[in-house]
């Protein structure tokens, strides 16, 4: 708790400091490759035969996903706070890679906690992290996925709190993380808003993004929260189907609870024990969701739907064939929802999909699912 208070103070100072903001901006644009395009997906639009669809191309960020936005912000903060060692949890490995990347860039020691299950299904990202000089700590506890990696990172943090900065990758965890990660990721929505206004001269009708912990959706949604005409759709991972219990849809299938220091929707059993989750997308495989997303759902600002594993796979194939873009399994959930939504909308209506990452990391998983040996 004192560590969180220290972090809260440091962040409150940094966000008001013009030199911090300038450094963050510069890193985003010069190092991470921003701005990312807002791309009008013409063939996708034609094929679905309804609303006009744009893709916010976070897959084109350095390291292949939106995760780098937040890691850059937080590592600059860690440096300001004089911390020498960075730790992080990772599911799909994208946040781990993004953390290892910025730790290398700023010359800080880095350890990434990753569940045994995820290490097995994301071996490519494990190798990338090691190549970037990070140590990968394999977590054997619990369900051996993202939540357990987060548990272990929290344990490490309380043990080495004096010299260590815990770089959380999602809008989950204790305050101030949900707020801070949202702020750092909201560059996605700010850019998209500007780009869309320039292209269409008005605001979009729909924003659609996948939701695991919720960092990419909060990043896209937040700058539009006060625009009531813009509807927002969060897409959770239905895994093998919401009714099978093998899913990761915390908002659609969970109840209010307290996990990792925040009160939000949590997948839990009748005893209040946290349930094991399933999604083909390791980055969505988390039993909680950001508290602010829970709030936005409860007050009706954001609607939630879900997409299954097989719908996500279909969506990957579809986008690859139609637009020549292979999205990450996570982002494919958003696309799957738009495949259902767009045909029901009028041609003058518009949709922005948060394409949070690229699919290179998922080729083994997709191959497996389709029965193809790579």
């Amino acid at each position: 708790m004192p560590a969180l208070t220290e972090l809260e103070r440091a962040y409150a100072q940094a966000r008001r400091d013009p030199s911090f903001r300038k450094e963050f901006r510069q890193s985003l644009y010069e190092y991470a490759g921003r701005a990312t395009p807002l791309y009008f997906a013409e063939r996708l639009t034609d094929k679905l035969g309804g609303a006009k669809i744009y893709l916010k191309r976070e897959d084109l960020c350095h390291t292949g996903a939106h995760k780098i936005n937040n890691t850059l912000g937080q590592i600059l903060l860690a440096r300001r706070m004089g911390k020498e060692r960075i730790i992080a949890e990772t599911g799909a490995g994208q946040h781990g890679v993004a953390t290892a990347t910025v730790a290398a860039r700023f010359g800080l020691e880095c350890e990434i906690f990753m569940g045994r299950e995820d290490v097995a299904r994301q071996s490519l990202n494990v190798f990338r992290m090691k190549l970037l000089g990070a140590k990968v700590r394999v977590v054997e506890a619990g369900s051996r996925t993202l939540k357990d990696a987060m548990n272990e990172a929290l344990r490490d943090w309380v043990t080495h709190v004096r010299n260590t900065y815990y770089l959380i990758g999602s809008v989950a965890g204790p305050h101030p993380y949900p707020m801070m990660v949202r702020d750092f990721q909201s560059v996605i929505g700010k850019e998209a808003r500007r780009q869309f206004l320039k292209a269409e001269g008005r605001l979009p009708d729909y924003l659609v993004a996948c939701v695991g912990g919720g960092s990419n959706s909060m990043g896209l949604f937040y700058p539009f929260v006060r625009d009531p005409q813009v509807r927002m759709l969060g897409v959770e991972a239905a895994g093998r189907g919401l009714r099978t219990g093998k899913h990761a849809a915390s908002i659609l299938g969970g109840e209010v609870g307290v996990l990792h220091g925040s009160k939000s929707y949590v997948l839990q059993d009748e005893r209040g024990q946290i349930r094991e989750t399933h999604s083909i997308a390791a980055g969505l495989d988390y039993p909680g969701v950001g508290p602010e997303l829970s709030y936005l759902r409860d007050c009706g600002r954001v609607q939630f739907v879900s997409a299954t594993d097989s719908e996500a796979i279909e969506a990957i194939k579809f986008l690859a064939e139609v637009e020549g873009i292979i999205p990450a399994l996570e982002s494919a959930h958003a696309l799957a929802a738009v495949k259902r939504l767009a045909p029901r909308l009028a041609k003058r209506q518009t949709v922005i999909i948060g394409l949070s990452g690229r699919g290179d990391k998922d080729m083994m998983t997709v191959g497996d699912y389709l029965g193809v040996t790579l």
Partner: protein
């Protein structure tokens, strides 16, 4: 005066520090835990911390993680843990502190839980992942039901926090001896004595020390300057290794006896 406070006052008069063993409820099953509780009392436990297992015990090291996993595998639930407390209360007056994480309590309902815990005969609640800043609701109900809500302090707690916890806590203050998670340690920090003294100056509540205490020698050292020593992982390791309920209880009782004997030989300076 609560049972916990009475116990501390009584020990104070005798110049003794309290020994507070920790065990996880339902590890490996509730019948064994009941036997262990009786053995702990017989061995000389002054108060018992009964762990409510949780799927994601972020404040615990590997020993208590394993212990919680074993307990949860048997479908353990809060009502059954309270049933165990009720059974133990039929023959024992040793104060019991329920030690756990917030979500199972929140899910059960904070008010219902406090009412049921008090009725079952529990004396205190320690919710390890609920900081004092967020504890208003729980505190309202523990106060209403006459339960002591116990808070943690650690070496990283600044003066403001020490003051806040000293003001809100009841029963005793649990001082975490290390920055880190639970688990037996080879060595304890030498600065512990002065750290406990710092807390003591801010509160009239007894100060207990826990996390990492694993030998009679360490417990005796703690007894020299603190009001209680909490021993968890080292005890659970012994229970884990013993085969069968009776043997587990016997080993637990014997270890507690050794700890208490060493602590009694120390005259408390404070």
């Amino acid at each position: 005066m609560s049972s916990i406070e009475k116990k501390f006052a009584e020990l104070q008069r005798r110049g003794e520090a309290a020994l507070i063993p920790f065990v996880t409820a339902g590890d490996p099953n509730l019948a064994t835990t009941l036997k262990i509780l009786h053995a702990l009392e017989k061995g000389g436990a002054d108060c018992i911390e009964l762990g409510i297992p949780f799927s994601d015990p972020t404040a615990d090291g590997p020993t208590i993680q394993r212990s919680s996993e074993r307990a949860l595998r048997n479908g353990l639930s809060l009502p059954r843990i309270l049933q165990l407390v009720r059974q133990f209360r039929r023959t024992s007056e040793v104060p019991i502190v329920l030690f756990g994480y917030f979500n199972p309590i929140f899910h059960y309902g904070v008010a219902n839980f406090c009412r049921a815990a008090a009725r079952a005969g529990a004396d205190g609640i320690l919710c390890v992942d609920l900081p004092p800043e967020e504890s208003a609701e729980l505190k309202r109900w523990t106060d209403a039901e006459g339960l002591d809500l116990i808070f943690l302090l650690s070496p990283t707690s600044g003066p403001e926090r020490v003051k806040r916890v000293a003001g809100r806590g009841r029963g005793f203050i649990y001082y975490v001896s290390v920055t880190g998670v639970t688990g037996a340690r080879q060595a304890l920090d030498n600065r512990l004595r002065s750290q406990v003294a710092r807390v003591r100056r801010a509160t009239s509540l007894p100060v207990g020390v826990g996390f990492g205490i694993s030998t009679p020698k360490q417990a005796a050292w703690i007894a020299g300057f603190a009001d209680a020593a909490v021993v968890g992982s080292a005890l659970i390791e012994r229970i884990e290794k013993a085969k069968g309920g009776a043997e587990k209880a016997r080993r637990a009782g014997a270890f507690v006896f050794e700890l208490k004997r060493a602590m009694k030989q120390v005259v408390k300076k404070s």
